[in-house]
């Protein structure tokens, strides 16, 4: 039994890689003739930045790691690091999307690791406050991106899209495609998500203030966090209001992916005007086919880029503005082929 036990122990340890006996098995590091270089330091196949010139290590903590949006933020952050030359990015999010506790743990881990700066997209405006305070107590500056933190006094800067304005732009675009009158549905995202709540409020606010002939027939349904849950919910809502609905707004990418599917399933595609928020491949195709009437766009690459640049500036003692907007845009079937829209519709992605 003992022999078997040790065999099993070995099996257990094998995938972890045993120090130097299996050099390439440690992901996150890349083999170079000069030695092992942390990933992100090997840029475009050449060792652009030798390890000893690294002055600052920044932890960049997104809300999750599987959305395309975050991959673009990652790309932007790496662009800035490459440009600065002496900055290294550690990219790490919670294992599960929406796991607040997991994100707190990641922040605490980086505080213990004593990185030079933490760049964070908080999953919850209140829950992450204590973790940011921990960082502050350890003299690690924190920059917030994408979603706000309740206590702005703790942070270097807040780099984000104006989501309320994004929601207003969506309302404007939907109203435009409906010639100013109709019955619309807003499919909300998930309870307690700050950025999407802002979009929902912006959308409803704009309709109420400036588009009186557009009636909101449903605004209390939550689509959930995945395209699947969104497809189910959108199908139910669209079927329920089949006879009256003329427009629909989906507040984020997974949500919109589900709605587009649901429009196809219910045979309403093209008949019901559809405005989405954040692009993906299907939505862009849908817009080329004129089934999607507008996509509100953010600029995630700039978000990642600006965050890293501002953090570095702060550490060099320069003054950094408290609030930096990264812009919001509307792509329509008519302008989608222009170079600037094309760049935002298909943003650069990491790897």
């Amino acid at each position: 039994m003992t022999a078997r036990f040790w065999t099993a122990c070995l099996l257990l340890l094998a995938p972890l890689g045993c120090g130097d006996s299996q050099p390439p098995s440690l992901p996150g590091y890349v083999e170079r003739p000069s030695g092992r270089v942390p990933m992100g330091m090997e840029v475009g196949g050449e060792a652009a930045t030798p390890v000893d010139t690294i002055k600052f290590t920044f932890a960049v903590i997104p809300k999750g790691t599987t959305h395309e949006f975050w991959k673009s933020v990652h790309a932007g952050a790496e662009n800035a690091a490459k440009e600065l030359g002496d900055v290294k990015i550690l990219w790490k999010g919670p294992l599960l999307e929406n796991d607040r506790d997991g994100q707190i743990s990641v922040v605490q881990d980086f505080v213990t690791k004593k990185v030079d700066g933490i760049i964070l997209a908080p999953l919850d405006k209140q829950a992450l406050v204590d973790a940011v305070k921990d960082a502050q107590a350890a003299n690690i500056p924190v920059l917030i991106f994408d979603s706000a933190l309740q206590d702005e006094s703790l942070i270097v800067s807040y780099v984000a899209t104006d989501n309320f304005k994004g929601g207003q732009l969506a309302a404007k675009r939907l109203s435009e495609s409906l010639d100013g009158k109709g019955n619309v549905i807003v499919l909300r995202y998930n309870a307690g998500s700050e950025s999407t709540e802002q979009r929902e409020e912006g959308f409803l606010d704009e309709l109420k203030a400036r588009h009186p002939q557009i009636k909101v027939i449903s605004s209390n349904e939550y689509a959930g966090t995945t395209p699947e849950s969104s497809l189910d919910k959108a199908t139910q809502v669209l079927t329920k209001h089949k006879d009256e609905v003329t427009g629909i707004f989906a507040v984020c990418e997974p949500n919109a992916a589900g709605v587009l599917k649901a429009l196809e399933e219910t045979g309403l595609v093209g008949k019901v005007k559809f405005v989405a928020f954040d692009p993906n491949k299907e939505l862009i195709q849908g817009m080329a086919d004129r089934n999607v009437n507008g996509i509100v766009l953010q600029d995630p690459v700039t978000m990642g880029y600006e965050s890293v640049k501002r953090m570095a500036a702060h550490l060099r003692g320069e003054k950094v503005e408290k609030r930096i907007g990264t812009g919001e845009y509307v792509a329509t079937p008519d302008n989608m082929t222009t170079p600037e829209m094309d760049k935002l519709l298909k943003p650069q992605q990491f790897e």
Binding site: M1, T2, R4, F5, A8, C9, L11, L12, L13, P15, L16, G17, C18, G19, D20, L26, P27, G28, Y29, R36, P38, M39, V51, I54, T57, T65, L90, W91, K92, G93, L95, L96, N98, D99, R100, D101, I104, S105, V106, Q108, D109, F110, T112, K113, K114, D124, Q126, A127, V129, D130, K133, D134, A137, Q150, N190, A191, G192, Y222
Partner: protein, 426 residues
């Protein structure tokens, strides 16, 4: 239970010559070995690859241990359930439910609400709306005065004005009395909130136990259902959003310092919540050794039919097992709230799998009859060490997921080897 006294073996001559001693020692040390191996690997890798190694430091130890507390305390309860041959898939959402209930109680100032039937915040809000109404009526009256309409219209408006003024006075009095009550009773709100969270956990456990033993449906299915049920309940309480008690005025400091790693909140180098977890673990381990109830629990898990034939009241003992586990779920809810300081209904989703993994890595058998408190604690620790180590090394999420997966499968495989070698239950 693996930690049994070895007296019967030691009477048979030299201890170390007995192969069974080694088997038992090995099985007891196994979780320690696994933990040591994981720690060693990360420590070595961190030394080699990081410019500023920080993995093997006292600070990081405190950090990892405090991050483990939520899963560890819930896993203690799950250990009892799994020893009794059950499973609880609803633990994760029940934790979030308890945390949401706690947050709600704090936000609504539940003590004042119970005594006065109203909270200061909502009484203030109502006074404000009465004042708004008064302002509106006044404005209308003014507008009317300029137009000089008939007397009857003015009289009607004056009546409205009287009503509105009266309403404002009534609301002011109400607010004053609620404030009085709040002054003497608000201090009990945190205590009540904690009791509510613990009670909520116990109730969740009781519901699971009752459904399982009364309906005679397998625990897997019952708790699969209650998992959704508790999620829904939590969302209902949170009005489909997040419950945010005010940090400064409604959340006492000891809540947020329960698992905080700030130096000034530590007590003997560790957060108070960690000490509490260790204390509970000690109590539970003692209970599993020396109480009659624990014999019933092991008997249930080993062979339910035999247990029934032996005259054990299967129904009530099952309910007791799930309710006891519910208490630990309630404590985990308290911990979760102390980390987040908000009540989020969805923050427990997926947590049950971490809890079950901790118990399984700790050497418990999913077919019941075996499991240990020490193993469970170490199992929980192994998982958070992996998570922490991956962050320290800059490893990415996919790698971390895979490592966790491999460890779980390896733990269960080892378990099978051992079962075959020893021949069933030890």
């Amino acid at each position: 239970m693996s930690e049994k006294p070895l007296t019967s073996d030691s009477q048979r001559g030299p201890l170390f010559a007995d192969p069974r001693f080694w088997k038992r020692a090995l099985s007891m040390l196994r979780p320690f070995l696994a933990l040591a191996a994981v720690v060693l690997l990360f420590a070595v890798a961190d030394q080699r690859f990081s410019e500023k190694p920080a993995f093997f430091t006292a600070d990081n130890f405190t950090n990892v241990v405090s991050q483990t507390a939520i899963v560890a305390v819930a896993a203690l309860g799950m250990t009892v359930i799994i020893i009794a041959g059950g499973i609880d898939l609803s633990a994760g959402t029940a934790i979030a439910l308890a945390a949401t209930v706690l947050a709600w109680c704090l936000k609504e100032d539940v003590a004042t609400k119970l005594v006065a039937g109203d909270s200061v915040a909502s009484a203030t809000a109502r006074l404000k709306s009465a004042n708004d109404e008064l302002g509106r009526v006044n404005k209308e009256l003014k507008a009317l005065g300029e137009k000089s309409p008939g007397n009857s219209v003015i009289a009607e408006k004056l009546l409205d004005l009287g009503n509105a003024t009266h309403e404002v006075e009534r609301r002011e009095q109400r607010l004053a009395s609620v404030k009085m009550v709040s002054q003497s009773w608000s201090k009990w709100t945190p205590t009540l909130a904690v009791l509510a969270a613990l009670g909520c956990g116990c109730l969740c456990g009781f519901v699971n136990g009752a459904l399982i033993s009364v309906l005679r449906v397998v625990p897997f299915i019952v708790t699969l259902g209650t998992m959704q049920l508790f999620l829904g309940l939590a969302k209902q309480i949170a009005s489909n959003s997040t419950v945010r008690p005010d940090r400064a005025s409604q959340v006492p400091d000891w809540f947020s310092s329960l698992l905080s790693i700030r130096p000034e909140t530590l007590w003997l180098k560790l957060p108070a919540g960690v000490w509490l977890t260790l204390l509970l673990a000690g109590l539970l381990a003692a209970g599993l050794h020396w109480t009659v109830f624990s014999r019933y629990v092991f008997a249930l898990g080993s062979n339910e039919a035999t247990a029934r034939l032996c005259g054990i009241n299967v129904r009530w003992n099952k309910i007791a097992v799930y309710t006891l586990s519910g208490l630990f779920v309630g404590i985990a809810g308290l911990y979760q709230f102390s980390r987040l300081t908000v009540g989020n209904p969805t923050s427990g989703t997926g947590l049950e799998l971490k809890v079950i993994s901790a118990v399984v890595i700790g050497g418990a058998s999913l077919s019941g009859g075996r499991g240990s408190v020490l193993g469970t604690l170490l199992g929980a620790l192994i998982m958070s060490v992996i998570g922490n180590g991956c962050t320290m090394l800059g490893l990415e999420n996919p790698v971390q997921d895979m490592i966790l997966g491999v460890i779980i499968v390896a733990a269960v495989t080892l378990d099978q080897f051992r079962q075959k070698a020893v021949g069933g239950r030890q």
